[in-house]
Symmetry: C2
Subunit: 164 residues, 2 copies
DNA sequence: CCATGATTGCAATTATATTGCAAATGCAAT
DNA sequence: ATTGCATTTGCAATATAATTGCAATCATGG
């Protein structure tokens, strides 16, 4: 430990870059590791802040570009969500998302029972690789505050935005 | 016909506004109708352009605000997608989305077989209202061009962005 | 160690979304 | 119809997010 490099994670990056004929730069290593370490769905700026702690001169633009590169290569993913800032995740194995309609918080959901969804057939014209389910509702915190305020609590409380 | 008002759609708007104690303005009517008529997932600007044809002085800001208002009231929805521009849809009945990873095109998918997904239990802490499935893959056009270019067609073609 | 093509950082630019405030509007009560 | 009042609208300014061109730098293969 100490350098944050040469970890199990780092090894994976070298393989990925070699397979795609991409030069392995320190920035690429740092950005991918920062995303791998996160359990949430960080924005570009959140990743940038993380990486800057060990690599203070990295440019925000570089982070944008690296994330786009690896997204195109399917190494990471943009999280499908209703917001207007891009969010990324490193988990490409199948999992699902819980979205709070009130505060925007989004959490991962693993559930083997949801692995059996029937893929749509050829009539769609799409060649489907994978899927994920978005469950919409209220997170525990928001459900509680709505209950406290009474069922007719209307367009009142609105602002937070967790979206972790 | 001719005025574009007083249609079946218009009637619904009056009811919605009354139920939510919202003044029914011409702008609200026009924006909601424009979205109802669309079968795609338009951006704010696309809706603005539509509405401007019959209401040339409507402000873009107003369109932003109206869409937000009705989203909060669950009359319409923001489409969950990987992009960075807000997209809206008027269909709030259950349906799913096909997303092309190459060009960004997104289509609706209706499939009654997909209505049986088991909702996650209480352990999530979420109070779930509904769900939708995002299927990822290649649209017919992109699948075809990738085939033509050969399986190792790499970070080549990249730009389009249909996202209708 | 060098040559070469790809990547990076920077500054400028574009795209998208939000805010404060005065004027205009919808609606309910007269 | 007219009035009163809270809400909405339009505008201009501002904030936030993402993209681009280009010179300097770096990774990799020989």
């Amino acid at each position: 430990m100490g350098k944050g490099e040469g970890t199990i994670l780092g090894a994976g990056i070298e393989k990925i870059c070699r397979e795609h004929a991409l030069p392995l730069t320190a920035q690429r290593r740092a950005v991918l590791e920062a995303l791998w370490v996160r359990l949430t769905h960080p924005t570009v700026d959140e990743i940038w802040e993380d990486v800057r702690r060990t690599m203070p001169d990295i440019s925000r633009t570089t982070v944008y570009r690296i994330l786009e590169t690896f997204t195109d290569l399917r190494v990471i993913r943009k999280v499908p969500h209703p917001g207007t800032v891009a969010r990324y995740e490193s988990r490409t194995s199948r999992h699902h998302h819980l979205l709070c309609l009130q505060c925007g918080r989004m959490e991962d959901l693993d559930d083997a029972a949801l692995d059996k969804v029937a893929l749509p057939g050829k009539e769609t014209g799409f060649q489907i690789e994978d899927y994920s389910i978005q469950f919409r509702g209220l997170c525990s915190r928001c459900a509680r505050s709505r209950q406290a305020a009474g069922p007719r609590a209307r367009a009142a409380g609105k602002k937070s935005h967790a979206h972790k």
